[in-house]
């Protein structure tokens, strides 16, 4: 018996090894014309790219084989690395009690800007804006389970609303927030009402269309939006207002740091409250089984639209903050890349989990920034890596780095 087992496992090893080799060969082959040939002005030059790719695939496959045969490694990952993160996430998920960890993080974040140079303060503000966006998108994608691919469209509407209101009417920042929220909320309603009868993937494509439509309209209305030149421009000569408190203009990076900080904290509090409310629980019911939710008396259309509108409103807030901070906006800032980036943040961190989404936003904003800043040679590989990460996450850890408990159950038992 024992000998037979040994033979069997050896032949399985051979099969796995030869399969890995074949896969490596295959990838080397199909990348041959694209990676292996460089077109120049004078004919073509051959490159060794496909060999490198085949080698990488081979190495990756061998490592993968090794890992899957060595149980200790996977145990180490799940117990030593992920368990503490889950613990922290659970702690964060209890909004009623402010634990000392949370309090100390808040204090640290409140004090730290005094030690940072302006460059890093700007980075922190931008990260904060993306955190707000990711949390906003998480309401509709993570909580309600509706895939929205044109989130940058709502962001753009919020940004342009404030920019125009500020330039043409001198609207102050604090009035711009509710104004932009009202406009984006209304747009959410207009887009959402007809679409929410559609199936999930159709909603995705319609919202994608919406996001692009917004960008093309902004680009092609030069009289109002300055077209590709953006705002302000020679037609709209006013300035975009910085926030003011009692006549004191807040325009230093550190001021924006605190404004962003407060907005992020408020967003987290509101969203956490929302998630544990009747509405939040209804969203989860809806996401997990629409039919069952309907039969429990949940008004699905109303709830979906609510999620859609609230999510759009947060894009509006982020838009105002972004516009005020940048003082200059163009349609190109709100490309589909941005929608995909925000979505990637939600996915990487863990759909439906507030702490996870924040982590996702921080990783996906600061890491590329670091690459841009420190290793410009890798700049071009940024989106390549995003794409690969999205695929790999879906294959191996669809619940994200930090999963919400409910989501985890849903994804592992989902069928069809």
């Amino acid at each position: 018996m024992a000998i037979e087992d040994k033979n069997q496992s050896r032949s399985r090893l051979w099969r796995d090894l030869s399969l890995t080799g074949l896969v490596a060969l295959w990838f080397g082959l199909i990348t041959l014309p694209i990676v292996g040939i460089k077109m120049g002005d004078e004919g073509v030059t051959w490159r060794l790219g496909p060999l490198v790719i085949a080698g990488l695939v081979l190495a990756g496959g061998l490592i993968w084989l090794g890992i899957s045969r060595w149980k200790g490694f996977t145990n180490f990952i799940s117990q030593r690395l992920l368990a503490p993160l889950h613990h922290t996430a659970d702690q964060m998920a209890k909004p009623a009690v402010i634990k000392w960890e949370t309090a100390s993080i808040l204090v640290l974040l409140a004090v730290i800007p005094w030690m940072l140079p302006a460059k890093h303060l700007n980075l922190a503000v931008d990260t904060g804006i993306y955190i707000i966006l990711a949390l906003g998108l998480n309401i509709v994608v993570g909580s309600a389970g509706l895939l929205v691919l044109g989130y940058a469209g709502f962001w753009a509407i919020g940004a342009y609303t404030y920019a125009l209101a500020s330039i043409m009417l001198g609207c102050p920042f604090w009035l711009g927030l509710p104004l932009a929220a009202a406009v984006t909320g209304l747009c959410g309603l207009i887009v959402g009402l007809p679409c929410l009868r559609l199936r999930g993937d159709y909603l995705a494509i319609v919202t994608l269309g919406f996001g692009e439509l917004v960008r093309y309209l902004l680009k092609n209305l030069p009289g109002l939006t300055g077209g590709e030149k953006g705002l302000p421009n020679e037609y709209q000569t006013g300035a975009i207002n910085h926030p003011q408190i009692f006549g004191w203009v807040l325009k230093q990076p550190i001021h924006y740091y605190y404004i962003t900080f407060i907005m992020v904290v408020l967003t987290i509090i509101i969203i956490e409250r929302l998630n544990s409310s009747r509405i939040g629980r209804a969203w989860i019911a809806l996401r997990e089984d629409e039919l069952a939710a309907t039969s429990m008396g949940i008004n699905t259309t109303k709830l979906k639209i609510l999620a859609f509108v609230i999510s759009a409103v947060w894009a509006g807030f982020a838009g105002v903050l972004y516009t005020a901070k940048m003082n200059y906006i163009t349609p190109e800032a709100f490309r589909f890349d941005q929608s995909a980036l925000i979505l990637a943040m939600v996915i990487l961190g863990g759909m439906g989990n507030t702490f996870g989404v924040i982590l996702g936003a921080v990783i996906l904003y600061i890491l590329p920034w670091f690459i841009r800043d420190q290793m410009p040679a890798f700049q071009d590989y940024r989106l390549l890596i995003y794409g690969a990460t999205m695929v790999l996450m879906m294959l191996f850890r669809p619940q994200g780095l930090i999963s919400s408990k409910r989501r985890q159950v849903e994804l592992s038992s989902a069928e069809g």
């Binding site: 679409c195 999205m390 669809p398």
Partner: protein, 304 residues
């Protein structure tokens, strides 16, 4: 007017070719293959690269431009089919029983990946289609009722129609076509009667990718250039065509493609070229809101 109609039909034929890939995959897997537009772009690159290599090799073969075009087309189609097959194996197969959201996100990731893969490997700049090879096809345009039609345009429309007819016959008459239709209707039942589901799905991706690559080569030849990011927009338009005709429905995708191409060309000619990219989105949103089943589609209503 006639000229616009001709241009619209060419554009539409290409949309239809790509739309077929969307519709076939949607019919069988019930998911939108976001990476399909990227396959079209890869097809265009493969064509240009093959021609560059053929030129570099030189010799008697480069004196026969039509033969070179044909060889380039074959190479492009074969490799693009390989890409389509690999995409399904890598990014979709494991997610076949996962929630739709996971597969969709994986598809978006794959699309971003492929686009930037080409950008990193071949550069950000436009790639020109070597003019030498298409010269004999455009040098003597015909005049038909005031419209100038070149041989190239006739070849493109004719090959689109032929390819689509061939596909239609393949799906409706052959054994494998029947197996594909059975798989689209009910995967479990099809597996029970002895159809190898994995093979059929792989085949669907291979055929769809081959068609998209053919479209890519033809478009890059027609407009003389391509870029790493053309797949995104063309993909969305082809998807619009598929939805317009009724997704999952093969004649519908053809009809939708031609219709979209004509509407877009007329829109550019008579309304405004600034909104070139907007017409497709407006049509897409209107169709999804007013008649999500599309013009010829009824299958969706059953499936939803």
């Amino acid at each position: 007017m006639l000229q616009h109609l001709v241009n619209g039909l060419i554009q539409g034929g290409i949309y239809a070719l790509i739309a077929l890939g969307y519709t076939m995959v949607y019919g069988i897997l019930g998911m939108i293959n976001f990476a399909h537009g990227e396959i079209y772009m890869i097809g265009a690159y493969l064509g240009i690269i093959s021609l560059a290599v053929l030129t570099a090799i030189g010799g008697p073969i480069s004196g026969l431009p039509i033969l070179c075009l044909f060889i380039a087309l074959i190479i492009s189609v074969v490799f693009a089919a390989g890409y389509g097959f690999s995409i399904e194996r890598v990014a979709y197969r494991r997610l076949r029983h996962a929630p739709v959201l996971s597969a969709l996100i994986s598809a978006i990731g794959m699309s971003t990946f492929l686009q930037n893969y080409i950008m990193v490997a071949q550069g950000k700049e436009n790639k020109a289609f070597p003019a030498f090879f298409k010269e004999p096809l455009i040098s003597h345009p015909y005049l038909v009722g005031g419209a100038r039609i070149s041989l190239l345009e006739i070849v493109i429309i004719a090959s689109c129609v032929l390819i689509m007819l061939g596909l239609h016959l393949f799906i409706s008459r052959t054994r494998i076509g029947r197996a594909m239709r059975a798989t689209a209707q009910d995967k479990k039942m099809a597996a029970l009667v002895g159809i190898d589901i994995n093979r059929i799905i792989s085949l669907t991706f291979i055929i769809g990718s081959a068609l998209a690559a053919a479209g890519g080569v033809m478009v890059s030849m027609y407009i003389s250039t391509t870029r790493f990011d053309v797949g995104y927009m063309t993909g969305i338009k082809a998807f619009t065509a598929a939805v317009l005709g009724g997704i999952g429905n093969i004649p519908g995708a053809m009809l939708g493609g031609f219709l979209l191409g004509v509407v877009e060309t007329l829109g550019i000619a008579y309304i405004s070229p600034d909104y070139k990219e907007v017409y497709a989105f407006v049509i897409l949103m209107l169709v999804l809101i007013v008649r999500p089943t599309g013009l010829l589609g009824e299958r969706l209503a059953e499936k939803a």
